[in-house]
């Protein structure tokens, strides 16, 4: 049976009815229409669905929507402010860190969580920070460059 839950996404509250077996990713994409977070493997191996909950990068496909109540959720939709790309997103564009773009929302969220915690990561730390995100275009070098610029 559907239950009414309140999700706090990108500093705004949304009330929505979900079945308890729905994941946060499904609730975000299907109930709230926020299709920025992508569904990749849906088993926790690709990182395409990465969102930030309470400051930590986590996988929305392995979080129950019911469990996300009362937590601060940031998705890719909340990164750009006032229709302007965040500096990190702009760097991804400038450095050609986007090919097909499917991994990009997850990459940005992982990179954002990393930079929020450690504003000056080394290259090794950047690699480790995005190691949970797969890019099947294999454009990792550009992605690492784009994040490294922020660390300078």
């Amino acid at each position: 049976m559907k239950q009414l839950i309140e999700l706090k996404v990108n500093e705004e509250s949304y009330e929505t009815a979900v079945d308890p077996h729905r994941t946060l990713l499904e609730a975000l994409r299907e109930n709230l229409g926020m299709t920025g977070s992508k569904e990749g493997c849906d088993l926790g191996a690709c990182g395409a669905c990465t969102v930030i909950i309470d400051g930590k990068a986590v996988l929305a496909c392995l979080t129950l929507a019911m469990d996300a109540q009362g937590k601060d959720i940031t998705t890719i939709e909340g990164v750009a402010k006032e229709r302007k790309l965040s500096p990190l997103q702009q760097n991804f564009v400038d450095y050609g860190a986007i090919q097909c773009g499917y991994c990009t929302p997850g990459m940005i969220m992982s990179a954002k969580a990393l930079l929020d915690e450690n504003p000056k990561p080394t290259e090794a730390e950047i690699k480790r920070g995005i190691s949970g995100n797969l890019c099947r275009c294999t454009g990792y070098t550009k992605i690492i460059e784009a994040i490294a610029v922020r660390a300078k």
């Binding site: 079945d19 308890p20 077996h21 990068a57 129950l64 469990d67």
Partner: protein, 330 residues
């Protein structure tokens, strides 16, 4: 893949878990969810009830005192374990092991209690329902009569691959389990494992892990966990080895060595420990202990990794982990 339908329950405190588990048969506990939810999506587990325990703050504590040792609540995330100051300083092997599990996102979600309770895995079992349906027979784990890992085997031979158990064994950890009547039981982490692939730990349907305790190591102790995997992240170990060595005046006072990903559970290598204990640490002695480890392990071929390779790898990992543990033992 969608999750199967279930009834959602929330435990507010530790007592709640026991009463909910008792009242609702066919229930599973979801904490981090990184292991159980994929299994549910693949219809390996289809519980009627899901008990969410993430709201229990009491189980998220890391407590450390010189005398009392370290106490980790079962809901402490792997990320928190790997970055906790006392763990990094005094229980290095555990910090290294929990820091190498899967990816940063999974470490942010996955808990230490969940990691030690991971089931064995195999490429025939951990697949989607549709994939498994393609085979006319069921394997032992699904209640069938055969094992696809080794033809003709009389038991399940799936591989146990968790990272933190060998480190915890090397550090001499104890586990507090709460049973169906609410009674607590403290056991050595070695006794937590059955060494049988079909059911790797002793937890019954109404049991759960509450806490993990590790005594403060004596002066001159160092520990180390080394993992070799095919990928740097989001991968289980091809093999992993943990060593904890106490050195005093160049002599080895105590040693504990354990390895993972070689069978149906984490294995303590007492024969390798015995070679070290009481003797002066030299390169030759460490070499001998590594040889003993090589003799002891009897792995199965796994994906493209041969038995031969895995045994040699164990020798190298045990050797290096003892060396690094000795270097840290100051």
């Amino acid at each position: 893949m969608r999750l199967p339908k279930f009834e959602y329950l929330e435990a507010k405190n530790v007592k709640d878990i026991t009463s909910l588990l008792k009242k609702n048969k066919e229930a599973v506990i979801v904490a981090g969810g990184t292991d159980i939810l994929p299994k549910m999506k693949q219809r390996i587990v289809t519980p009627k009830f899901v008990i969410n325990v993430t709201k229990i703050e009491d189980l998220k504590k890391i407590e450390f005192g010189e005398k009392k040792g370290l106490a980790l609540g079962s809901l402490v995330t792997l990320d928190a374990v790997s970055k906790s100051k006392p763990v990094v300083e005094k229980f290095t092997a555990l910090a290294q092991a929990s820091g190498r599990v899967a990816s940063s996102q999974i470490r942010n979600m996955g808990t230490i209690g969940g990691n030690i309770s991971i089931e064995s895995m195999c490429m025939y079992y951990n697949q989607s329902h549709e994939w498994r349906k393609g085979r006319p027979h069921l394997c032992f784990k699904l209640g069938g009569d055969r094992c696809f890992v080794a033809k003709g085997s009389k038991e399940c031979l799936a591989l146990f691959q968790a990272d933190t158990p060998p480190a915890l064994i090397a550090l001499g950890a104890k586990v507090t389990i709460v049973d169906g009547t609410g009674k607590e039981k403290v056991i050595d982490i070695e006794k937590f494992y059955t060494q049988k692939s079909k059911k790797v730990n002793i937890l019954k349907a109404t049991d759960f892990v509450k806490q993990i305790q590790i005594p403060t190591p004596p002066k001159g102790t160092g520990s180390c966990y080394l993992k070799m995997a095919q990928r740097e992240a989001i991968d289980y170990p091809v093999a992993g080895a943990a060593a904890c060595v106490t050195v005093s005046g160049g002599k080895c006072k105590n040693a504990r060595i354990a390895v993972t990903a070689i069978g149906g559970g984490p294995l303590r290598l007492k024969n390798a420990e015995e070679i070290l204990i009481g003797n002066t640490i030299t390169d030759e002695l460490i070499e001998k202990a590594a040889d003993a480890a090589y003799e002891k392990v009897r792995p199965m071929p796994h994906f493209n990794i041969s038995v031969w390779y895995k045994r040699k790898l164990i020798r190298v990992l045990v050797k290096r982990s003892i060396k690094q543990a000795c270097n840290k033992a100051v």
